[in-house]
């Protein structure tokens, strides 16, 4: 049986038969639109929910550290002895301590100190580590060998033990903490930068730059550093929580900042001594925010590690 033939009727408009516009310009173009390294990293980071949560938490923590103490009518060292150890209320959102100081104000004032210590330690580590590691890796040979020997010895020193010793010598205080943390802390950064520079320094673009007569400083700044920024940023995000933890640890041992200024570590230490009398809020708030900060930095660091690793780039 032959099926009944349908009449095919198709309208063919004239514009289907126009010549291609400018056929030569992008006929060869088969690539995706090019994405820069940073854009690509950002895309991968923003796909990681946990890391983005960490980033949001950090932004909030920093904002609260800046504006938190301004939200209350109290100052961090204003004592009202008749209002000691009050539990959280609409009056004092996080309660008060034994001297009647507002815990909310003190907590965010403590955030300023803890975050300041963390960021300063990371920045100073970055400066020393990049200068030392970059120079050592770039020079190579004997200089590198000698500089790495020094690093090896410093790396063998027990970090917190040395920090404690330095604090004993320099006396407690905010700046001595930062100095003590960075004197021993830059070594890790220097090792990373040196390793990266060693790998990169014979790459074509570096050789080209040197052929054109660029000096060591320029090559390190313009050619090598931008390509090592990934591992450096990851290292920095992990330095900040380490420094915050070290500060809390030192304050806990009584080597931290001095009263009436209080960091989270000092407040947690004070809170610990009264935990058995039921004043839970004195320990809970500083402890909670130390942990939250550490958590945020750690998950952000993990995400960055994945996002900035060129091996994982699709």
């Amino acid at each position: 049986m032959i099926p009944e033939r349908k009449e095919i009727k198709q309208e063919l408009s004239d514009d289907l038969f126009l010549p291609l516009q400018n056929p030569s310009s992008n006929a060869e173009m088969i690539a995706k639109p090019s994405i820069s390294y940073w854009k690509d990293a950002w895309m991968r980071l923003s796909g990681n929910k946990l890391s983005m949560a960490g980033l949001v938490m950090l932004v909030l923590l920093v904002l609260m550290a800046i504006f938190g103490p301004l939200l209350t009518p109290y100052s961090y060292d204003h004592q009202v002895l008749t209002e000691g150890n009050l539990p959280p209320s609409s009056e004092h959102w996080f309660g008060t301590d034994n001297l009647g100081r507002d815990m909310f104000t003190r907590t965010w004032n403590g955030a300023r100190i803890s975050l300041f210590v963390g960021f300063m330690a990371a920045i100073i580590d970055f400066i020393i580590g990049v200068a030392y590691g970059g120079f050592s890796g770039y020079k190579g040979g004997r200089t590198d060998n000698f500089m790495m020997r020094i690093i090896e010895i410093l790396y063998g020193l027990p970090y917190l033990l040395m920090v404690i010793l330095l604090m004993v010598v320099m006396g407690p205080g905010l700046f001595t903490i930062i100095i003590a943390l960075t004197v021993t802390g830059w070594v890790g950064m220097a090792r990373i930068v040196r390793g990266q520079v060693l790998q990169l320094k014979n790459a074509e673009h570096v050789l080209a730059s040197r052929t054109f007569g660029a000096r060591a400083g320029r090559v390190i700044r313009k050619n090598l550093l931008p390509n090592t920024m990934g591992p450096i940023i990851v290292q920095m995000t992990l330095t900040v929580p380490t420094a915050i933890f070290a500060e809390a640890f030192l304050s806990f041992l009584g080597l931290g900042v001095q009263a009436p200024v209080a960091s989270w570590g000092v407040m947690a230490n004070d809170g610990l001594s009264v935990i058995l009398s039921g004043h839970w809020w004195r320990l809970f708030f500083p402890a909670f925010f130390i942990s939250l900060t550490m958590f945020a930095f750690n998950v952000l660091g993990d995400g960055l590690q994945d996002a900035l690793d060129p091996k994982l780039r699709k």
Binding site: L157, L161, L166, F249, A268, S291, F295, V299
Partner: protein
């Protein structure tokens, strides 16, 4: 191998000497003599005291005396507690601290590895997420806060465990757990990531094709390779447990070395600070050395004498 070990031993002695020197001169850079804050002593008594501890000699002579006594493993007397020597303090404190440290390391290693393996076997499953959430929390919560939470819940509210001190195995549980959570979390994460990598390799597929059970694959083929990265960080973990023990011993009132060290710091008792620091450092350097050797034995692909090049 032998050449490597000799080189390493030599480097260890140098590092230790540098630590001793740094510690010594740091302690002597502190202004004032340890006897200044004491109740008013007469000039003569002060001089006698300083002479007894060689504090009236030039710094370099003191340094030579200190090095000489260290060479015979004598850490000198404590200045504040004149009846005890630093050696006695270490002798009394170290066994307790070692007990605490070893217990928590064992807890951390065993539970960390098990947690990591479970997470890797159920990669991206519910167990994986739960284990990793647990691990991130373990890394984020400082051990002194963990210790307080444990005391508050398990010792005060529920009264399962004693609150503090160091008398029976029951007393050991809370401090060991508090000290172990951080290292355990690190080990769990590391085991998980290296285990996932190993499980995706071809030889694991071969083993599976042979019909081996998951348990056999993990224990016979995967674990040995997956644990190598864990061994590399063991040295750092020992250092972490060691410094962590300062606060844990303080919170739980445990009479370990950390207590003497912290008391030494609070009293500015310099021989005690120096002695314990040197002892701790020597111990740590030894541990790092042992870890490196163990690594070379467990992974034949590593050529020890080529490391660090």
């Amino acid at each position: 191998m032998a050449k490597y070990i000799v080189n390493r031993l030599f480097a260890m002695v140098i590092t230790l000497w540098i630590i001793v020197t740094i510690t010594f001169f740091l302690m002597h850079a502190v202004p004032g003599s340890p006897f200044n804050q004491e109740r008013n002593t007469s000039e003569a008594v002060q001089q006698n005291l300083e002479a007894h501890y060689h504090l009236d000699e030039p710094v370099f002579i003191q340094y030579a005396i200190y090095i000489k006594s260290l060479a015979t493993l004598d850490f000198g007397p404590s200045i504040k507690q004149s009846s005890t020597s630093v050696n006695e303090m270490i002798g009394r404190g170290f066994p307790v601290s070692a007990e605490l440290g070893i217990t928590s390391l064992l807890i951390a290693i065993i539970s960390g590895i098990i947690l990591g393996i479970m997470a890797a076997l159920r990669h991206n499953g519910a167990i994986d997420y739960m284990a990793m959430t647990f691990a991130v929390i373990g890394i984020s919560v400082p051990n002194f806060i963990m210790a307080t939470l444990l005391i508050q819940q398990l010792a005060v509210t529920w009264e399962i465990f004693p609150v503090a001190t160091w008398a029976s195995p029951m007393h050991m549980i809370l401090p060991s757990i508090a000290l172990a959570t951080g290292p355990m979390a690190i080990i769990a994460r590391l085991t998980r990531s290296s285990m996932i990598e190993v499980l995706n390799q071809d030889y694991i597929m071969t083993a599976r094709a042979k019909g081996m059970t998951t348990f056999q694959i993990v224990t016979k083929h995967a674990l040995r390779n997956a644990l190598l990265p864990v061994i590399t960080i063991l040295g750092t973990l020992v250092a972490g447990v060691l410094t962590g023990s300062f606060v844990i011993e303080k919170i739980f009132a445990i009479p370990g070395m950390g207590k003497y060290f912290i008391n030494g710091i609070n009293d500015r008792d310099y021989p005690v600070i120096m002695g314990t620091t040197v002892f701790y450092s020597a111990f740590l350097i030894m541990m790092l050395f042992i870890v490196d050797i163990a690594y070379g034995i467990l992974d034949p692909r590593i050529k020890l004498h080529k490391r660090g090049e």
